[in-house]
Amino acid sequence: MKQRSFAEAPEFAPSALDCLRQPLESGVITIARAAATARFPARFQLVLAANPCPCGNAGVRDAECTCTPFARRRYLGRLSGPLLDRVDIQLDVPRVTAAQLRVAADAPVTTTAAARERVMAARARAAHRLADHPWRLNAHAPGAWLRREGAPAPGSTAALDRALERGALTMRGYDRVLRIAWTLADLDGVDRPGLDQIGRALYLRKAAA
């Protein structure tokens, strides 16, 4: 799997970003021309980075944002709703302050090596669990499987079901939450995601956004 990173994502043309929607879902880019249709493999992990506003100071303590509220809205608005619906994890990365740097020096740190070990273990778990299925990663699990054989522990999807009913969550979003919940379950070493994993999946997704 390839990784594609777009720094300053809102600076890209919205139409260009929205072209990513289809390959994000299907893992294939289809180009149709008069004479032929070509399909190219396009399974990739998309990483988008964005500043909170054009000047980059919004929400930062002791810094002044010079953007108008309208400009701020429009800036992040360039990332369309359907595109964000396909983003599984949204993280706020606050600006690091000098005080934090000092505190961080004493706090335990997750090293890349340790993180890698956890990821390898989770992937091994997933591969073992999915041995009888044609896919190897939770990201590739089909929606129908996620909602049937691969459904989370009974009773744990009530909040998701309700949100789907209310329209607070799309069907695609629903499936994506379940995929992340499976990954969290693999990381936690549990057999099946439960309410805890679903809650954290929603937290990572910024559910209500």
Binding site: A153, G155, A209
Partner: protein, 421 residues
């Protein structure tokens, strides 16, 4: 001693497979007599209900068999001071006696054993309490095929019924309503007919909820036959119930009587689509007569498939319902047992999840502690909330994710706040 010319030992060997093997002689005899009564009296026979209620099923049956003219029965009823007119008793005896048949009784029980049908009588712990509201017209016994233990789920059941000739709109709405209710932990009760009934059962099964079907004929042969596969699934994951013994045909009268069971066993009845003369109006009428909440789904005023629903809204004080939520309001689950079928089946519940798929009831107080640690104005980081609430950071994240989905908390620059109510 014998019943119907059948020795006690034989009776026991026939009845025990259909019920609790721990029953003593009297309990077995009572069940056998009630089973026989279901083939003698038509469903909803109020006289049979009174006679059996006053004399006991076994004594009433014995009196009827020993003197087919009815004199013994009349005498016994007088002794018990049962207030029935002589003519009523005579008429009843005249319609019962031709049906007393040892062969039929044996066949019904043998067929029942073959199809793993069990028999439930009033007083059994799993007898649906709602049926007692039918008084004399309550069934004398119920035949159950499938998971008998689910009968206790009638305490959280909603009947969804409607026309066989349903429109696409009707089936769509039914599926939405039934799955929404199943997700909330309700049991879906219906009649397994084509159209609305079938859609309701299917949606409940697809949502891994509990569903129970009342049939008008014997349980050895499914009706309608086009729903063979659906009924096989209902029996596997839920239950099918009839008050007619195996071998009994689904007659028009039995369909109408079957409807009274659907209405009486459920907390509330919802009619999704019904023509002006649909049988589901009969179910609705029973529900209204029993004082059960009645809901009707509106449709286009030009649609003949909705004409009956509109009449229910106008003339029967039916409540207009359009979403599962509104039906849940008709028959709130608060304070009732609400263990989810799936959770009970697997024997596992998720920590913090309300069994039954309802919004988390928060047994550990996680929610309250977390909401207490949040302020409506100043945003707090996850780490800070964790420290203030005394919860693990992962627990805080999981709970925040769920609360955010429900709109109770919001993320702002630099942290989380409680959403304004």
């Amino acid at each position: 001693m014998t019943i119907l010319g059948i020795a006690d030992a034989t009776v026991a060997s026939l009845v025990r497979p259909l019920t609790d093997p721990a029953h003593d002689r009297d309990a077995v005899a009572d069940r056998f007599a009630r089973a026989t009564w279901t083939s003698i009296a038509e469903p909803g026979d109020g006289v049979a209900g009174r006679v059996v209620g006053a004399l006991g099923a076994e004594a009433a049956l014995a009196a009827l068999i020993d003197d087919r003219e009815g004199a013994l029965l009349r005498h016994a009823l007088e002794q018990h001071e049962v207030d029935l007119e002589a003519r009523e008793i005579d008429d009843a005896v005249a319609r019962w006696t031709p049906r007393i048949s040892k062969a039929d009784a044996l066949l019904a029980l043998r067929q029942a054993a073959r199809f793993a049908v069990s028999i439930v009588v009033p007083g059994d712990p799993d007898w649906p309490a709602g049926l007692d509201d039918l008084g004399d017209h309550a069934p004398i016994a119920l035949w159950v095929r499938g998971r008998r233990q689910l009968l206790s789920r009638f305490e959280t059941s909603i009947a969804i019924v409607g026309a066989r000739a349903a429109t696409g709109y009707g089936e769509h709405v039914t599926i939405e309503l039934a799955s929404g209710l199943a997700d909330r932990g309700y049991t879906i009760v219906s009649g397994a007919a084509y159209g609305i009934d079938g859609a309701a059962h299917r949606a409940a099964l697809a949502s891994r909820g509990t569903t129970i079907a009342f049939l008008a004929g014997g349980l050895d042969r499914f009706y309608p036959s086009g729903h063979d596969a659906l009924l096989a699934r209902i029996v596997e994951h839920g239950a099918a119930i009839s008050e007619v013994p195996c071998g009994g045909a689904p007659t028009k009268w039995r369909f109408l009587q079957r409807n009274r069971l659907i209405a009486a066993a459920s907390l509330a009845t919802v009619v999704v689509e019904a023509g002006a003369r649909s049988g589901s109006l009969n179910t609705a009428g029973h529900a209204a007569a029993l004082g059960r909440p009645l809901g009707a789904v509106p449709g286009p005023v030009t649609s003949s498939a909705s004409a009956g629903c509109h009449r229910l809204l106008r003339e029967y004080d039916a409540v207009c319902v359009t979403r599962a939520e509104e039906i849940a309001e008709l028959a709130p689950l608060a304070g009732r047992e609400r263990e989810s079928p799936a959770a009970a089946a697997s024997g596992s519940t998720v920590e913090g999840a309300e069994p039954g798929g309802r919004p988390a009831a928060d047994p550990a107080g996680t929610r309250i502690r977390l909401l207490d640690a949040l302020s409506p104005r100043s945003a707090r980081t996850v780490e800070k909330v964790a420290a203030m609430s005394g919860l693990a950071i992962d627990r805080v994240r999981a709970e925040l994710g769920l609360l955010a989905l429900e709109g109770l908390v919001k993320e702002r620059a630099g942290g989380w706040v409680r959403a304004a109510p």
